[in-house]
């Protein structure tokens, strides 16, 4: 029997908590609401990790189904969204392992250890540089650029900067230490910046150009 205090406590909780309670009570439409709320994020994360559209679709579906089945295991002390993201990240990595049979896949892949080097590229960007491209050109540039990052940097950047997880949540989701997340985030940001500079730098004289292909 809920007490007045516990009801008051629930009112202050995240809106997902009420939806989850409904799902647990058998209201499937409440789960649909959770799916609609987070499907874009989960699909993006899966696509960033697997880099394959079909895999990302499968991962998204499997992650939502798994979360549904395991809802009883969900502890209210972590956010439903970060719990869901953790499932999707694990599903994505499993999918990658299947594709690359015999090859280990982990978020530690391709991480070189050089730290703290000062960027050399001094080229400033044009004001609002993205306006020099149409939507599909820009999306292609952004996709190509982020796909070129080492996987361990890419996942951290996506979770932290695109999907808005905190450093702590990112560390917990990926099983990394907080310093490791911070160090990867800095390098991911700097590498992306440098790569985007090819497309976004201010126009120079013809002699100076020729970086971008």
């Amino acid at each position: 029997m809920p007490t007045i205090q516990s009801i008051a406590g629930q009112l202050e909780e995240h809106p997902d908590v009420a939806l989850i309670a409904k799902v647990r009570a058998g209201d499937i439409s409440a789960y649909d609401q959770l799916v609609r709320k987070y499907e874009r994020q989960l699909f993006r994360i899966a696509q960033h990790i697997t880099q394959n559209r079909e895999d990302a679709e499968d991962v998204m579906q499997d992650a939502f189904l798994k979360a549904y089945e395991k809802l009883d295991q969900f502890q209210g002390n972590s956010k439903f969204y970060t719990w869901l993201v953790r499932i999707a990240v694990n599903e994505s990595l499993m999918r990658l392992r299947k594709r690359r049979t015999g090859k280990m896949v982990s978020i530690d892949e391709d991480i070189e250890t050089e730290e703290g080097s000062v960027p050399r590229d001094l080229a400033d960007w044009a004001p609002d540089p993205e306006q020099n491209y149409n939507q599909s050109e820009l999306a292609e540039i952004l996709r190509k650029t982020i796909q070129g990052l080492p996987q361990g940097f890419r996942i951290v950047f996506v979770l932290r900067d695109v999907e808005g997880l905190s450093t702590e949540e990112t560390a917990e989701t990926l099983g990394l230490s907080i310093p490791a997340v911070k160090s990867r985030l800095l390098r991911a940001r700097l590498q992306l910046r440098e790569r985007l500079s090819r497309y976004f730098h201010r126009k120079k004289s013809p002699r100076e150009t020729g970086i971008a292909k």
Binding site: E39, R44, E57, G116, L122, A139, L185, R189, R193, L196
Partner: protein, 78 residues
């Protein structure tokens, strides 16, 4: 403050997690180092661009397929 020291705190400056005193030191460095100013502005812009552009659109029909799969699973045991 050197460029390397600035860079070590770049993320904290971007994320707004530096104490006021450090922040003014970082801003003083920005005021006299055009190199770091470019790095700071363009890194911030990089994040903003990735945050504000959808680069992977949700495939059409995926919501219906997902809903059907959940309903099918639900019928089996919920």
């Amino acid at each position: 403050m050197t460029c390397k020291e600035f860079l070590a705190l770049l993320d904290d400056l971007i994320d707004g997690t530096v104490p006021a005193e450090t922040r003014s030191e970082l801003q003083a460095h920005l005021g006299r180092c055009p190199h770091c100013e470019v790095v700071f502005n363009t890194t911030r812009k990089t994040i903003q661009i990735y945050r504000s552009h959808e680069i992977y659109e949700l495939p059409s029909g995926i919501q219906e397929r997902l809903h059907a799969a959940i309903m099918a699973r639900c019928k089996k045991g919920c």
